[in-house]
Subunit: 151 residues, 2 copies
DNA sequence: GTGATATACATGCAAATGCATCTAAATGGA
DNA sequence: TCCATTTAGATGCATTTGCATGTATATCAC
């Protein structure tokens, strides 16, 4: 039996398309609800997970896969909205610690409702429980560190 | 045997993360090669597929999952770069037909080399042939039309 | 210590994006 | 035919992004 070579694009094309489709749907739902976008959600969520310890911007940069200036300015906007505070970092004069405010937590909770509601039909209606589990598993494998292509 | 409910986020989170990771890697490779980004590639590719018939902007809008103004301006840039031409549309005075130029085709071919080379390690090194096939299949299911959430 | 390098974060400027709106041509009724 | 509605596409304006660079502190070699 001949096994066709694993065409990376057979994976990439539907992957990109599925991501874009779902992303668009969720962003539309959030906007319609008068809530911020997913990038705000992700940052708020990480801060909530971090609790009282807060997070340094460079930590968020890794967690969110954002460029350094991306985190810097995203945090700016969140701070202006009153969703986080910047605190001088004891022990590192260059740095700062970002902390979630109660209002930030409230907004994240509101967003979660909309987020989950928009996600559910986009995914659950097209996959069985077993398929979803298998898909998540395969995507997880895809995320393993690539073999040192960083220069 | 109890079957855990299908958590949509168990799929969405790695999906989004995998897409972003691979996208970033490919964009970086293209940039380093002094070539345009993936959005240009996608448009060039569709035009190449369309051949001499070309494509109407509204057709690209559907194929590329872009907003109307997105296609309008992307086409502007491609036209300024000499990669496509806009032709008045016989039969619809409002419309136009976008046609690939030879230079556009050449650039797309160059991009393809870099694109494919960057994609390969990101995907093939983490998945077996069978896994890749299964993953592509599951992602395909995910792309089925959602149950009428359009307003 | 002192100087060189590396790390953390900010920012000016140009380009891209989102949103609302505009024009023009097509379609559909009466 | 005439008017109302829909569709194709462009564009002004505000926001966001990307890129390069700037500033300040930390770390390391000596």
């Amino acid at each position: 039996m001949t096994m066709s070579a694993p065409d990376p694009f057979a994976v990439w094309l539907p992957l990109a398309r599925a991501q874009k489709t779902i992303l668009t749907a969720v962003e539309a739902a959030l906007k319609q609800a008068g809530l911020p976008g997913l990038d705000w959600y992700d940052l708020l969520w990480e801060l909530e997970c971090a609790g009282d310890a807060g997070l340094r911007p460079y930590e968020l940069q890794e967690k969110l896969l954002l460029p350094q200036y991306g985190v810097s300015r995203l945090a700016d906007r969140l701070a202006r909205a009153g969703y986080l505070t910047r605190q001088d970092c004891s022990g590192d004069g260059r740095g700062q610690v970002l902390l979630l405010t109660p209002e930030g937590a409230r907004t994240r909770a509101q967003m979660w409702e909309v987020y989950a509601a928009a996600m559910e039909p986009a995914i659950s209606s097209n996959l069985s429980t077993g398929e979803a589990r298998r898909l998540a598993e395969l995507l997880g494998k895809l995320l393993r560190p690539a073999p040192a292509d960083k220069i």
